[in-house]
Amino acid sequence: MPYVPHSGEDRRAMLAAIGVRSIEELFEDVPERVRFPELDLPPALSEMEARWELEVLAEANLTTTDGPCFLGAGAYCHFVPAVVDAVLRRGEFYTAYTPYQPEVSQGTLQNIFEYQTMICNLTGMEVSNASHYDGATATAEAAITAINVHRLKRRKVVVSPFVHPEYRAVVRTYTQGMGLTVVGDEDGGENSGSAGLTDLLDGDTACLIVQYPDFLGRIEDLSDLAEAAHAVGALLVVVADPIALGLLKPPGAFGADIVVGEGQGLGAGLNFGGPYLGFFALRKKYVRKMAGRLVGQTVDMEGKRGFVLTLSTREQHIRRDKATSNICTNQGLIVLAAAVYMAALGKRGMRRVAELCYHKAHYAGQRIAEIAGFSVIDDKPFFKEFVVRCPRPVKEINDYLLDEWGIIGGYDLGRDYPYLKEHMLLCVTEMNAREEIDTLVEALKEVAS
């Protein structure tokens, strides 16, 4: 849809048509003292001056291009190929609105359809929606979907303590007032193994939520948990890292019913916390309880392929208070970034990215394990993040790394897991050059001494 500007001539003609002398006159109903108030603002800057001022502010920030970054914990430094921006910034995509009118939105709809298809390929699920805001809200919507699959008769959600702490908090926020109990993470993870979670599964459980790889970076065979959940009729919700899925077995292959996660690593960049991308995919038999938009493929009057928003009777503007969610939007632009990323890399490229993450993380783990005073917790296999026990508080180490070496260190696990005080979650991705890892090791050696 083209942008339609007004010229001065257009305005004059419109004002004349309605018999008004000026635009200001249209506001005469607003009391004079508040109509065009004096605002205490500094004088307007030119574009050039505004640019200088913003650059000075921006320079106060440290970015991940200023030095090596080993911080993960849910937001990752993955490479964003130039092709992503090249497609994203096309005006047709950048300024497109919601595709309610399919006749003028085929580009947007096709993009979302392709994204949905690739997410299904990646996760091993049958249907994907058009996305949610982020991994945390997608996880909460998954819990709500499971509750609705069970027609509100089951009131318990079991969640592993090694699902991202913020995601667990959002699940609780989202389900306030629904009369649910969310259990499984009360002991802060200290004594939790699968056995603990399995004990909690019963006929009142709507779903079990686990993360893959988990928050500590670990990979586990989840098929036993899947079986245990299904044995009581509960759904298995897997929160997955889409980059890891380039290498690991897809959750659909070991019994997941719903797969959600954070798609930021698929071409979105860190962006200081957002906008991010919540992907959501599930088994077709649950599709009518799924939240979010859904794009479908169909044919037009002439038999040509076209795309539309479909299954709209799930949504709140039709189903009203019976809708299973109030979400009526999606992250259209970030969906496009993810679709471009996945298409550009392809199956082989995504596998290669995952392999690089895996090997670099293991190289780092190996070298750090050799530093006296540090140890790597590797009783379970890990993907791109691993737990390091440190000889000093994590904050001290990170301050030192940043101030003396310009390195962004890992996540302080003591913030969320009391039994992991002085443990750091270190993340290594394809963006960390070997030299960077070696420099980190040198820096950590200094810390230990």
């Binding site: 009518r288 009777t313 039709i318 189903r319 019976k322």
Partner: protein, 129 residues
């Protein structure tokens, strides 16, 4: 508007009919026409118990989703599983193959409180008004 002379009708456009000791129930021809093409019927489970007026399911068409209400109280003994694959039967034969549920009525006298075919026809005419 098609009507089943043996059935009785609720103001919410469901019909009920005796079949042995059980009640068979669905939505009226007028209802299916208003909804247009039906794409999905969400049914209760066998064994679920409801009171008269309780919502027991949802009928979805291409343009709307409407609750279905029990014309009488009772316990569900059967649901029409064919509607999973061919929901259009509700449009095509709303009093026959398009039946939705069968239930054991908790109070058979509630049947007499429903409208007969003639009264329902008049009721619809007035609603359209």
């Amino acid at each position: 508007m098609k009507l089943d002379p043996k059935a009785r009708y609720a103001k919410s456009h469901e019909w009920a009919r005796w079949d042995g000791e059980e009640i068979v129930c669905g939505i009226t021809d007028h209802a299916q026409e208003s909804l247009s093409d039906i794409v999905y019927v969400e049914m209760p489970e066998v064994g679920d118990a409801f009171e008269k007026g309780d919502p027991f399911g949802v009928v979805e068409s291409v343009k709307a989703a409407s609750d279905l209400y029990m014309p009488m109280g009772g316990e569900i003994t059967a649901v029409n599983e064919n509607l999973d694959d061919t929901p259009e039967q509700v449009n095509q034969d709303s009093y026959g193959e398009g039946w939705m549920i069968r239930f054991n009525p908790s109070d058979p006298a509630e049947f007499d409180t429903l409208m007969d075919a003639e009264d329902y026809e008049a009721f619809v005419a007035e609603e359209e008004g």
